[in-house]
Amino acid sequence: MTAAAPLISLQSVSRTYRTERVAVAAVRNVSFDIAQGEIVAVMGPSGSGKSTLMNMIGLLDLPSEGAVYLQGANVADLTEDRRSSLRARRIGFVFQSYNLLARHDAIENVALPLVYCGIARKERMARAEASLQAVGMLHRAHHFPRQLSGGEQQRVAIARALIASPLIVLADEPTGALDSRTGAEILSLFAALNRIGQTIVMITHDPGIAAQCRRTIHLHDGELVGDETQTPALAKRSAVS
């Protein structure tokens, strides 16, 4: 692990799924790096391989060919247990459908990754409170997901993604299930997090959302068709809390 290594580096990554007869290439020969502190949108129509790419960056899946490096280490060389442990400590997931555990209240949900970091309950709760505070959801700590609106659930999910102070937050269509106003609030939250140094990769099929990120990676049919850096609309906004 060298200090100069990018946070995430994909080198000629392909991922092929084998069904009974045919092999489907979901991602083909994709290479790019993500540096510490970036906010990157991964854009593409559905079926373009965005989620597959996300799963590999999130250590949930391994490439069929090529390699994914996390801080210079090839993740394929790690054991399954080690990858799980890195997911708990180094990666924060935010999903389109929130994926909160319905039978646990907000604070328990936020604290969940810390269970797998072997942290005692008292500290888990304290850190979960801090994390909820950071997303403005402390007043809902003991609400169950069904008692929360979509935007609130997504904020809780973001608090959960942040709790272990991850290297990178991976958000898969985080505003996909929200109305545009709530979606904008969630985006502002991501922008605010990015401004304090949080690396974020966000999957979206919405060009409007991608336009708010400094860098956009375009995927089409599993191939990388564009990687551009723009001046984001989000960065120009001043009134984000």
Partner: protein, 407 residues
């Protein structure tokens, strides 16, 4: 994730579905409850037999009348008193292994002391009886030689009879009681020996014959109903038994080839055999009860498999958030374990309640056996581990990506 966290998560999950959790563990509850109950009843029966064996006394042989022929008709065992006081004397004198022996006749009668009366067994015997049975006095003395020879009007009470006839502060020794209108002086009260044994009053054999049976008696003046004899050492039981049989055949002039008119028995040995039989029956019942435990285990496995399927998404989320495969396996294994342990605990409580109810309703002696409780709990845990492992393993093998896609 630690074991403790696994149990916390399991308890949380099970609390959300209390009825289902209870129904799932019901098989274990029933299995464990039946095992504990069967053990308790079996152990109780054993205890009772052991107490009876103890109360008879160690190394005791009992000689009772056997079948007799009267004009070619074989009469029921014991229908004629074939043993005599001289048989007792002969046994004592001629068989060296015999330490003591006594002949008895017995019947039931009302014993009366002032305002109180009690129906009990009246046993006419000699002091040898107490020696054979190692039966000590709680107070007073045994019969004197003069009393035994001269039909003395004395009585020794079993502790139950003493308790029924005398108030707690009253000293029975020296008191007058009446049996069949004959006034008798209480000279001794015996130690407790067991509930079935203590309800008795002893009088000298001569007293019983002369004063209770009277001259109207049809039986031989010399006859006794049964003889008990004490053998000096454990290893001499079989030899002593054969010698007594030989001696009595000679004395009763029984020709070779004809049945004995008496029986020599070793009551303790017979009871030990009975004890073995009880143990066998109890083990059989436990085996049957274990089937219920097996069925309970299968039901737990079934529900756990359904639960894993239902919670596929939860498993996906936990895996994505850093749960290792072994963490998922531990979580579901803990659920199965908690189900079995709780079921086992409820079963133990139920079994204790059930066996105490049986003890009260049926009047059986039951004994709650710590070993049986421990064993059933160990079985429950084993059931949880065996039947919980497959569903837990299945859960841990789920691909997090696929699991996250399910609804």
């Amino acid at each position: 994730m630690t074991m403790l966290q696994g149990f916390q998560i399991a308890l949380h999950a099970l609390r959300l579905n209390p009825l289902r959790s209870f129904l799932t563990m019901l098989g274990i509850v029933i299995g464990v409850a039946s095992i504990v109950t069967v053990f308790a009843i079996g152990a109780g029966a054993q205890l009772r037999l052991q107490e009876q064996i103890r109360s008879i006394g160690a190394n005791v042989l009992m000689i009772t009348p056997g079948a007799v022929y009267q004009g070619g008709v074989r009469l029921k065992d014991g229908s004629k008193l074939t043993m005599t006081e001289s048989d007792v004397q002969a046994i004592i004198e001629q068989i060296p292994e015999i330490q003591a022996a006594a002949g008895s006749i017995a019947g039931t009668a009302q014993v009366i002391h002032e305002g109180k009366n009690w129906n009990t067994t009246i046993n006419g015997t000699t002091t040898g009886h107490f020696m054979v049975r190692d039966w000590q006095l709680a107070a007073g003395r045994y019969f004197s030689a003069t009393e035994e020879a001269g039909a003395g009007k004395v009585v020794i009470l079993g502790s139950t009879v003493a308790r029924e006839l005398f108030a707690p502060g009253d000293d029975p020794i020296g008191a007058q009681i009446r049996i069949m209108k004959v006034p008798l002086e209480v000279v001794g009260v015996l130690d407790r020996k067991g509930p079935a044994q203590d309800d008795v009053a002893f009088v000298p054999l001569t007293t019983a014959k002369l004063r209770f049976l009277g001259s109207a008696s049809k039986i031989n003046r010399d006859a006794v109903a049964y003889i008990i004899a004490k053998v000096a050492a454990d290893g001499q039981m079989a030899g002593a038994r054969a010698e007594i049989a030989n001696l009595l055949r000679q004395r009763h002039r029984i020709p070779a080839g004809q049945d004995d008119d008496f029986k020599v028995q070793d009551p303790a040995a017979a009871m030990e055999a009975q004890q073995g039989a009880i143990r066998t029956v109890a083990l059989l019942l436990v085996a049957i009860a274990s089937v219920s435990l097996l069925v309970g285990g299968i039901s737990i496995m079934n529900v756990m498999i359904v639960s894993v399927t239902e919670r596929t998404r939860e498993i996906g989320i936990r895996r994505a958030l850093g749960g290792r495969m072994r963490d998922i396996r531990l979580q579901f294994l803990c659920e199965a374990l908690v189900l079995c342990l709780l079921g086992g605990a409820i079963g133990v409580a139920g079994g204790i309640t059930l066996s105490m109810t049986v003890a009260r309703m049926a009047g059986w002696v039951t004994s709650i056996d710590g070993q049986a409780i421990g064993l059933s709990l160990v079985f429950s845990i084993a059931t949880g581990l065996v039947f919980g492992f497959y569903p837990a393993h299945k859960a841990s093998k789920l691909s997090p990506i696929e699991a996250l896609k399910t609804e």
